[in-house]
Symmetry: C2
Subunit: 443 residues, 2 copies
């Protein structure tokens, strides 16, 4: 444990979290349920693909030598071969077989002439003309991959195209890193369920909704729990249930997110309740604004798996959000086996005067730069760290290191994105009006 | 319908699809189940937030005039106020109330002194020193928002932060655009289920996995159906079931994706089967490579909702994938009420010679530019349009318009991303080693 009273910087606290997080043991799961998960085995082809020489157009399977004579060439049709069938006749000199896309090429034939380039003057006869190359419109067996090839290496994040590739080599199930299970408990006597009307002095519990949705956005299985009141035994009981799960929400939690009860107040009983459950404190408090009261611990020890990572997040929604993005998100990535990506820096849209003794995360919006070549970051005015509403209209947080400094327009500053996607790029929903866009040729 | 035999360009075909797609009628759903959906009503605050003047630190609620005298100031503590409680005592001259973060300020008090700046020499007495501003460490009622304010405007895509905001004003349910229901049917006598071993002339059906996963990645509810054989009545029956749903997969399909059976072959029976079900052809074939045989239609007419959009996709996996990204993705966005985003163009990593009479989509990878300031697109070598494996390692498709041209290094070209995210930015999983990154100050 880090000495009590020592306030860590963000990089120090992040390093302490990362040191305690490791990838979850892989499990076998249905291929069709593995979207977004990390592959934990090399997937190897069991057959050649395609498994036979195959026609890639509808037409006539021919011996190319026959077709390269004087046009038109007249051939006798000896068979019709549909996809899913096996040819029964060899194509000899002066012969052809009608063939459909995807069907196996018959012995003797080495190319396919497209149906659009042929004529059938009478049944059983086809007229066509060359030239045709050997191999034209034929996909040779094993051209895409060969039995024994590694089709997909361990460690990749499975997207739709990768699932399609693995399906084509027959993987009904695959070894993947499981989705982390994240339990969420909001604490506080002042809280009422969010869909109820608060009485005097009460507020709605929006934190369970926020934290559960954040965890879900980041690929976790989420276990939202009832509000826990500020009493030691009630807190212990709530945390134990959250960690263990039950028949409705089975599986031990890999991460426990607790909201509230970690400040210096007389009813901030969360750290004690956690320690009573065998969850050891790694650090308490981080030199960051907002999010200073963050508590992080690990435990209890248990058989057959690593102990849970436990985050006591500030009850203030924006502080909780920043803490999640800074510390829980990287932990989730490590558990899921996802390679962490590098930080983002973005030019500032206008000068900014910063003065604070803590690194400060300020809600900000990304705006297109005037020349349209990129994005710039614009800090928002906001009502303070409980102003989740301001954050609701932002894209993330501009990062200003501790100290006093005037940041210049166009200076690169750190940006902590709200978006969970690992996508390196804008989405490309296409909006070309007809005749515009990359299609520049006349039609 | 577009005149038969006329082959549309990509922008023309896309315009024809967009003309037939409209946002799904909104429905009321649980707030906690609305992640990623589009809000279809303005959400209005029912109460002020915060609902009372509130302490933002643990400490002592005071009259600021009392504290700004000669230090130390000695005040009598008249009450302890916890979050969730209602103060019962007014703070008069020479008095203070102990107060916890989140608790309501008592009448009379106009500021809170942090507990760290106070001393308690004896029970019931607190020593503290100024100066303190009126309003310090107090969050005034309604500072975040006022009853009647629009908290969240219709049309936004609901992310975790937005759900948190709406929970804080008590929205248990919200009107949202439903997720589109997408049914998927692969056709072809040559297909076997992907987890089985293909016999002679057979191949595994990877298309249902691919298309269902693509639809899921793009936010749809997916209904994968069994393989349909190449017989008119079997196809009609399969398409009817896919459109109607059943007790295991209720709800009529908004989009039907069919794979295979749309080329010029003798067993390409899909268009006829669709027309027999009252699904009118809008266009068949697009001047694009790969993906030319695409069939698009609409129908049948039905009560209480728009007719389904039906895409007959080429059976070749890569052609099907390109067709999905070009045409199905924008349709899904429109149905879900999501604003379509503009196209992407990216500089080319190396010169490229293109020659084709169709606009060509070539699998490509995004690579960091040498100066590290951005991304460039690098077309991949691949084994032809059935090479899904090559696509499995790509990030999307480089777009080369029809014609012949040498594209120069660093020339901007169109890029069709595989990634479904609407994220404008790299994901920011944080990987600062301690002491590096945006934190530049010494620790």
């Amino acid at each position: 444990m880090i000495p009590q009273g020592l306030m860590l910087t963000v990089p120090e606290a992040l390093a302490a979290v990362r040191d305690r997080a490791s990838p979850l043991p892989p499990r076998r799961g249905w291929l069709t349920k593995s979207l977004g998960q990390v592959l934990a085995e090399d997937v190897i082809a069991d057959i050649d693909l395609p498994p036979f020489d195959k026609a890639v157009v509808d037409g006539f399977a021919v011996r190319s030598v026959d077709v390269n004579g004087p046009a038109p060439v007249r051939l006798r049709v000896v068979e019709e071969i549909y996809a899913g069938q096996v040819p029964t006749r060899r194509v000899g000199p002066g012969e052809a077989s009608a063939i459909m896309t995807g069907a196996p090429l018959p012995d003797g034939a080495d190319a396919v002439v497209m149906v659009e380039k042929t004529q059938c003057p009478e049944p059983g006869i086809v007229l066509l003309s060359g030239p045709i190359e050997p191999g034209q419109n034929r996909l040779v067996r094993g051209r895409e991959l060969r039995a024994g090839d590694i089709v997909m290496p361990r460690g990749v994040v499975l997207d739709a195209a990768k699932l399609g590739v693995m399906a084509s080599v027959g993987f009904g199930t695959v070894m993947v890193r499981p989705r982390p299970i994240v339990a969420v408990v909001a604490t506080g006597d002042e809280l009422v369920p969010f869909h109820k009307s608060p009485g005097p002095g009460q507020i709605r519990n929006s934190n369970t909704v926020l934290l559960a949705a954040l965890a879900e956005e980041h690929g976790a299985m989420v276990r939202p729990m009832p509000i826990a009141p500020d009493r030691p035994e009630a807190l212990r009981d709530a945390f134990r249930k959250a960690l263990e799960g039950d028949e409705l929400s089975p599986g031990r939690a890999d991460i426990l997110l607790i909201s509230g009860g970690v400040s210096a107040g007389k009813r901030d009983l969360v750290p004690e309740a956690l320690e009573a459950l065998g969850i050891g404190c790694i650090f308490h408090k981080v030199k960051v604004k907002p999010g200073k009261p963050l508590w992080f611990g690990v435990g209890p020890d248990r058989d057959g798996g690593p102990p849970a990572l436990v985050f006591g997040l500030p009850g203030n929604p924006v502080s909780g959000l920043v803490s999640f993005l800074l510390f829980v998100r990287p932990a989730l990535a490590i558990l899921a086996g996802i390679e962490e990506e590098s930080n983002l820096s973005v030019p500032l849209a206008s000068p900014y005067h910063h003065l604070d003794d803590r690194d400060t995360y300020r809600p900000a919006r990304l705006v297109a730069s005037p020349d349209g070549t990129g994005l710039r970051v614009e800090p928002l005015t906001w009502a303070g760290s409980s102003d989740l509403r301001g954050v609701g209209t932002s894209d993330g947080f501009a990062i200003f290191p501790s100290g006093e400094r005037i940041y210049q327009k166009d200076e690169q500053i750190g940006f902590l994105s709200l978006r969970p996607s690992r996508s390196p790029l804008r989405h490309s929903y296409s909006t070309w009006p007809p005749g515009e866009g990359p299609q520049r040729t006349a039609h």
